[in-house]
């Protein structure tokens, strides 16, 4: 189930960044209980980023699109702070960094 939720989250993009939030490394933790309730611990690339609220809504909607998921709780954290090293290998390659 966690894999399916993670796959669903790969359709969520920060509108200005050409990588989905999973490849960007914004998803820190994903926990699903037997009732289908998801707890997502995530961050954003910059605190106070205006697209933040929209991004959280998109994460909720993406999780709920997976059959069997009944409730989504998104926890926005800044510890540990997000760094570019958290991006996927593919993202690093594309950017040449």
């Amino acid at each position: 189930m966690a894999e399916r939720v993670l796959e669903a989250l790969k359709v969520v993009y920060d509108p200005e960044i050409p990588f989905n939030i999973v490849d960007l490394g914004l998803i820190y933790e994903l926990n699903i209980n037997e009732k289908g309730e998801v707890k997502v611990k995530m961050t954003v690339t910059s605190p106070g980023c205006p697209v933040g609220p929209w991004l959280l809504d998109e994460v909720r909607n993406a999780c709920l699109s997976v059959p069997g998921i009944t409730k989504v709780d998104v926890d926005l954290v800044f510890d540990p702070p997000w760094t570019p090293e958290m991006m996927s290998e593919e993202a690093h390659k594309m950017l040449g960094i």
Binding site: T45, G48, P50, L76, P81
Partner: protein, 385 residues
């Protein structure tokens, strides 16, 4: 209607008002006498309305929205809630003062605007302590200093008499947008780009200080050379960094990301054009170089950047999702063509084509209004809850 939508609506009303004031003024300059007298009276406040009625509130609103998902303490949340109403109320008092000649209202309005700007700095400070990457926030805080200086220095008089004062107002959106670009691209940048961004910040600080001193002591000539040269250098650094590391990585990007990339590139080209006209103006070059530089900075750079970021920011502000397929390049094309005509009219010296160019330039402002209406319509009416 929630707070963010209300603030957005208010700032759009001021933008349309400022735009109409500018359009009629432009027609008037080009001998098309159609300025309604009640609008002509307000024209001297055109820059104030555009900056304190539109740009400042809309930028404050986007940051307010972003801050609401963070667990900020009560004082910071209160700052976020108060800064836009105080700015708009301050501006309204200044407009009433201008129309009624009650000077106390102007001073009171100025004090409210200064207080609102200090609250904005406080909010940005609160955001900066949430991250180790503080540079974008330093840019944003720095961008407020020129307009804070403007609001303090001219608290008793709203008239703008020199280019240094206009530059103070312009530096706010220019440096704030630099900050937003650094915020967005810093993590995909190579080490030398990050060093370049730090240099850009120092240069922006230098430009701000120089413009303030220049505005106070009205020693504009040399200052202008330096300001425009530095801004041009910064533009090249940002273009180089972004094109290399970010826009180029957007080959497989979504339509909205490509849309933003194209707008940002056009915006930087206008910024460079504005700097070139600025240097020509400072050199005493013939033609209306001052008008050309103002139009390049305001309509070209700032206007295009606003078109770029509208579809990105709007969903968070309105709570409604934008249909990406409805976001078109038409407003960008109209805005760019209109501004090209306008700038060509400013710099054109040939008498044989002067009449045609003058007429085209005079009515070109309406195309900008059409571009804005199409842009807003495509965003607001394609949005869905």
């Amino acid at each position: 209607m929630n707070r963010a939508r209300l603030q957005l609506a208010a700032s759009l009303v001021f933008m349309i008002l400022a735009l109409i004031l500018g359009i009629f003024r432009l027609m008037n300059i080009h001998s098309i006498d159609a300025y309604p007298s009640f609008l002509a009276v307000l024209y001297p406040l055109h820059p104030n309305i555009m900056v304190f009625g539109f740009l400042v509130p809309i930028i404050m609103t986007e940051r307010m929205v972003g801050s609401k998902i963070l667990n900020l303490s009560r004082i910071y949340n209160l700052s976020a809630d108060l800064m836009v109403p105080l700015t708009i109320f301050g501006l309204v008092l200044q407009i009433v003062s201008f129309l009624t000649d009650i000077r106390l209202l102007n001073t009171l309005g100025g004090v409210l605007i200064v207080f609102a700007l200090l609250l904005f700095i406080l909010l940005l400070y609160a955001l900066s302590i949430k991250t180790d990457t503080k540079l974008p926030f330093y840019f944003m805080i720095l961008s407020i200093l020129p307009i804070l200086g403007f609001a303090i220095l001219w608290i008793d008089s709203m008239y703008i008499s020199g280019i240094a004062e206009v530059l103070l107002l312009l530096l706010f959106p220019i440096i704030f947008i630099f900050g937003e670009r650094v915020e967005l691209t810093r993590f995909v940048s190579k080490k030398y780009s990050l060093s370049a961004y730090r240099s850009v910040f120092i240069l922006c600080g230098f430009v701000t200080a120089l413009t303030l001193v220049s505005a106070i002591y009205t020693t504009e000539h040399l200052a202008l050379y330096l300001v425009f040269s530095v801004l041009m250098f910064i533009s090249f650094v940002l273009i180089y960094s972004e094109q290399r590391n970010f826009i180029r990585a957007s080959k497989s990007a979504l339509p909205l990301q490509r849309y933003v990339g194209r707008h940002v590139t056009v915006a930087y080209l206008w910024l460079i054009a504005g700097c070139v006209f600025g240097l020509m103006y400072a050199s005493g070059f013939p033609g209306f170089m001052y008008d050309a530089l103002i139009h390049s900075f305001t309509v070209g750079y700032i206007g295009t950047m606003l078109l770029a970021h509208g579809p990105v920011i709007l969903p968070s502000v309105t709570g409604r999702k934008v249909d990406q397929s409805k976001v078109t390049l038409l407003p960008l094309i109209l805005l760019t063509l209109s501004n090209l005509i306008r700038v060509f009219g400013d710099i054109s010296l040939s008498q044989s084509i002067q009449n045609i160019i003058s007429f085209a330039s005079g009515v070109s402002g309406w195309f900008i209004l059409v571009a804005i209406v199409i842009f807003l319509r495509s965003l607001l009416f394609s949005a869905r809850a």
